[in-house]
Symmetry: C2
Subunit: 367 residues, 2 copies
């Protein structure tokens, strides 16, 4: 194999596919990037068996072929080369030569035959969404996917589309985060549970652009995100997602409207008094026009008042302040509406059109 | 005690004194900042017994007194308060109240009597230097102070002043870094060995300004840096520094001039092939007009050519590339001069007026 690519293009592609390189693995090939040529195109692929990313590199091919190369060293060499054309070649013994201006590297590669290619995804069920929107709704929901949980389904996010409306949701047993998006077109209904890890890595390489469109293909076991010259394939989590609608049905007893920035700043301060060893609840004491926010732990006390607009009865209710903060900081509205039922029932932070719904369970507090 | 200070002023002072707070200590008082009033001034002090920092806080005093407060929590509370006036008060039971707009914190403080004040430094021997220059020459030499060494003197930097010329130097047994500065005035001769840790913390709080003048006071055991409203006191390292002049005397056999940026970039690339487990030398093969730079380790090979201007004989010599890189990246000149003697004798990177001298010992290499 012998290819010639601008350094900047190589670097861009390496940054994308690196997200699917196993950081810690006992199998060296999983720590590699595959460079290969196909139909006069130069491709880079990484595949850690759960997640695979493939991207096309702009450049020219002098000699067809393929080589696997340790991702970290390859990335660091390319990063430190002058901003010029880089020639990458591999011989039959899998030695890789990297040439750029007066600099020449020879590093041992690995047999490309060892590399397991990305699975082919059947392209029948799909939907289209802008990269910017997809990136946003992932960031706005992913924090409540359970990092490690006995229930594998909680480690994923629901993607559900019907009548051109996409709902994405995650939950961890204490809270639910939901975003609803109206898509531009109608598609066949789909529903899938995507590993949170996949979405995390995907959102790192999605361009911040509403011009870039992502096509998402669904099969029974796999999901494929296609955008620009990049493909991201991931396995899906098997099983049936929780019945969200039944969890969201409630008769609200009161509603408050509060300035988002002020409330978020209060929560930030309250969390200073929460430590691993002393997880005390935040107490909201809501009366007419005012919400008193208090926190009392072994590390000290905090007490603040925030003005609110209230309809309905008074309420005193306790929360894990981090759960409130996680939800609030991803809401872009100036003021937010919080709906409550009673001190031992969930609260809901949502807007009128329900483009977002955050449900948070309260915690007990000692009066 | 009751004081009123703008949040921004508190934060600035906390950032300064925090550098002398012990991060890990079994004595809680060493993790505290002392706030105290003296002669109508508000002072903050931290003192980890090796290094003490005291700074004045702009604000007004409602009630004289003092309190010690855990630095980390205090810093985080102040950081998260609104940008307004903060009232800090302490009662006889050492409870601290922090009020800012509608926010109120109560946190337990510590008895200020427990706090060990900074030692008084006699102000007879001294010199003056601009903050910017002092900060620069510290950064340009400190990397070769030995982090942990059997020889305590190597963990410090020499400050030596005679006839208005300040020389600062550090060495670690493999290399020596020296900067010489002409001061604006003449002072009594002084010589002291300052712990590298002190200089590290000092340079973090020195302003990046040539208008700010630092007065440095020397006693037998202590050094005091005074600038703006801040005092930094440190113990000195006892003992006699190495005889630098004898180490610097050499008859050079050749000299090369090389572009600093190109050489630094080559060294950066070569270091990619050096890992903890495989410390191979960088080999410089210098012939007329060209320096061939090569590196060969278990991780691969690198080979580059750099144009040089040479006077004297050819030379092939090996180095730890990090030592060359550390010295070169703190030199601001476009081209640098490197002087050599023979493959088993030190090389010197220095300019004509010797405002900087970096001596580096070579390492063996297999031809």
């Amino acid at each position: 194999m012998k290819i010639l690519c601008p350094k900047s293009e190589l670097l861009k592609s390496i940054n994308s596919v690196s997200k699917a390189v196993s950081a810690k693995t006992t199998m060296p090939i999983l720590g590699c990037i595959l460079i290969h040529t196909r139909e006069n195109r130069i491709l880079m692929t990484a595949n850690d068996s759960e997640l695979g990313i493939e991207t096309e590199v702009t450049g020219s091919i002098d000699e067809l072929g393929s080589i696997a190369i340790e991702a970290k060293l390859f990335s660091e060499i390319i990063r430190r080369l002058p901003d010029a054309i880089v020639q990458i070649s591999a011989d039959e013994s899998n030695m890789v030569q990297i040439l750029c201006e007066k600099s020449k590297f020879s590093v041992p590669g690995r047999n490309p035959e060892e590399f397991s290619h990305m699975p082919e995804v059947e392209k029948s069920l799909f939907l289209k969404i802008s990269a910017l929107t997809l990136k946003s709704i992932i960031a706005q929901t992913i924090f409540s996917a359970a990092e490690s949980s006995g229930n594998i389904i909680m480690s994923g996010e629901l993607f559900e589309q019907e009548n051109g409306r996409l709902r994405i949701a995650s939950l961890d047993g204490h809270r639910i985060s939901i975003r609803n998006v109206e898509l531009k077109e109608q598609y066949e209904p789909v529903s899938a549970i995507i590993p949170a890890k996949t979405l995390n890595e995907l959102s790192k390489i999605l361009p911040d652009s509403s011009d870039c469109e992502v096509t998402v293909y669904f099969t029974v076991n796999l999901i494929l995100f296609e955008f620009e010259s990049t493909k991201v394939v991931s396995r899906l989590i098997e099983g049936k997602y929780f019945n969200l609608d039944s969890m969201l049905m409630h008769q609200f007893e009161m509603k408050i409207t509060v300035n988002k920035k002020d409330f978020a700043a209060s929560l930030d301060r309250a969390m200073l008094l929460v430590r691993e060893s002393d997880r005390k609840p935040l107490v909201l004491d809501i009366t007419d026009d005012t919400m008193e926010i208090s926190m009392r732990s072994a590390y000290g006390e905090m007490l603040e008042d925030i003005p609110v607009e209230k309809t309905g009865k008074d309420m005193k209710i306790g929360f894990n302040p981090k759960f409130l903060s996680d939800a609030i900081r991803v809401i872009d509205d100036e003021n937010i509406d919080i709906y409550m039922i009673r001190p031992n029932a969930p609260c809901f932070i949502k807007n009128a059109q329900e483009s977002y719904i955050y449900m948070i369970l309260p915690v007990n507090f000692n009066v």
